[in-house]
């Protein structure tokens, strides 16, 4: 194991290149990617008439009008007038499940939100990230996201920037720290989430990823659909503006 790891390190394999290779390999052997299966699952959930109101999600407005999915997810998070909130992909799906389908908040299954997020995000594959800071609350969320990103807190004095800016490309554990705010100018993490992670067979949105970042370092995580997790995404997405999205992502 150590020998293998050491070999891998000495070869300095770019994790993104390695993921591409694994993707090809899986496609050749299985004929279909796990990420594609999740997109299909999400599609079924999206068009199925469900919930107390027996409705589909076809009327859901992701910011470009009811039912317009193409290009919607690369423009999130954004401010929505109907809820008077800045929402991300996850929270907007939840909003529509509540408003259109009549689900109670506690009835909403996380796995369904993730699958629907995969389907909606897939409709923006190849498009550039283009979030904006137009409304005052969008600006306020961006600023909150920036402050959270640079904040040091908890018993381990953790903070996102402490590793993802200061030690960019360095390694604690197996993988080097990802460039999440495009410091190096080669694109940012927001371009490839939601993502399927083949090393542990996980389907995650950026909300899951952020929460795991905190959790791995022993810091309490912000709750799903909360202002903090949305603010961090708006901050990161703004720094990814113009970068081409690969959706859903396929990662180690």
């Amino acid at each position: 194991m150590f020998l293998l790891l050491a070999w891998g390190l000495s070869q300095e394999v770019d994790p993104r290149e390695e993921a591409k290779r694994q993707k090809e390999l899986l496609l050749q052997t299985a004929g279909v990617l796990p990420s594609e299966l999740i997109v299909e699952q999400g599609k079924e959930l999206f068009y199925a008439k469900r919930g107390p109101k027996n409705a589909s999600l076809e009327g859901c407005d992701f910011g470009l009008g009811p039912g317009v999915l193409k290009g919607a997810s690369v423009r999130l998070p954004r401010y929505f007038m109907d809820t008077n909130k800045v929402e991300d992909l996850d929270s907007r799906i939840r909003t529509c499940m509540i408003q259109l389908q009549g689900f109670k908040p506690e009835e909403i299954k996380r796995s369904e939100v993730v699958a629907i997020a995969f389907y909606v995000a897939a409709q923006s594959d190849g498009m550039p990230v283009q979030v904006r800071l137009l409304y005052p609350s969008e600006k306020a969320f961006y600023e909150l996201g920036e402050r959270l990103f640079y904040a040091r807190s908890g018993a381990r004095d953790i903070g996102c920037a402490t590793c993802h800016v200061t030690y960019l490309g360095k390694r604690a554990g197996v993988l080097p720290y990802a460039d999440v705010i495009n410091v190096a100018g080669k694109g940012a993490a927001m371009t490839h989430w939601p993502a399927y992670r083949y090393s542990n067979d996980q389907a995650w949105t950026m909300e899951d990823r952020i929460r795991a970042c905190y959790g791995n370092l022993g810091h309490p995580a912000p709750e799903f659909y909360s202002p903090a997790v949305i603010a961090l995404q708006l901050f990161m997405a703004y720094h990814a503006n113009g970068a081409k999205a690969e959706l859903p992502g396929f990662l180690r």
Partner: protein, 189 residues
């Protein structure tokens, strides 16, 4: 009268020191979960200072900051800065405990990361003088006393390790008989 002014100044100082998040921010952070909010709203003044300056303190703030961080360091009751290297090894190589190897290269048991400097053969290269014992102990107890705002946990200050446990880790790094110094480091850097 003078004491009232001093109190006012102190209160002002604290208010300024802790002002990193705006009131609006704090409201949104509180709506993001009670435990999360507790950690961020309860940010300590030194954490807030590092946050405000994005981990690079301006030169004029450094002397006071370092002095305050130094004042937080406490030592084992028996005064020994080198404890039991075997216990220290268990702490160094435990991911849930000190997790030193994830950032530092040099452990014979675990492949090290490259976030922190390599510690390979730490004791063989530096000897076991009182000065190096003290330096090693103090950096582990409070890294911010030497490297303000660094990523390394402040193991002693934050109560992650006791002074005695830190002395054990010092021994693991310095003792010439420690596995850390007698066995080859795992993997290649």
């Amino acid at each position: 009268m003078r004491s009232i002014w001093l109190l006012l100044l102190l209160a002002l100082g604290l208010a300024l020191a802790q002002r990193y998040f705006s009131e609006q921010d704090l409201e949104r952070i509180r709506a993001s979960g009670p435990k999360y909010a507790e950690a961020l709203v309860g940010q300590r003044p030194d954490q807030a200072l590092c946050s405000i300056h994005k981990n690079r303190l301006p030169a004029d703030l450094l002397p006071k900051f370092i002095e305050e961080q130094r004042a937080l360091i406490q030592y084992p009751k028996d005064g020994k800065l080198m404890g039991d290297w075997k216990k220290g090894g268990a702490i160094f190589n435990n991911m849930a405990k000190a997790n030193c190897f994830s950032c530092h290269f040099g452990s014979p048991l675990n492949l090290g990361g490259d976030v922190g400097p390599s510690l390979e053969k730490y004791g063989l290269n530096r000897g076991q003088s009182e000065a190096i014992q003290r330096y090693t102990y103090e950096v582990i107890y409070n890294a911010w006393a030497y490297f303000p705002c660094t990523v390394m946990y402040r193991f002693g200050v934050q109560g992650l390790l006791t002074p005695e446990e830190i002395a054990d880790v010092v021994a693991y790094l310095l003792d010439p008989n420690s596995d850390f110094n007698t066995k080859p480091a795992a993997g290649r850097r």
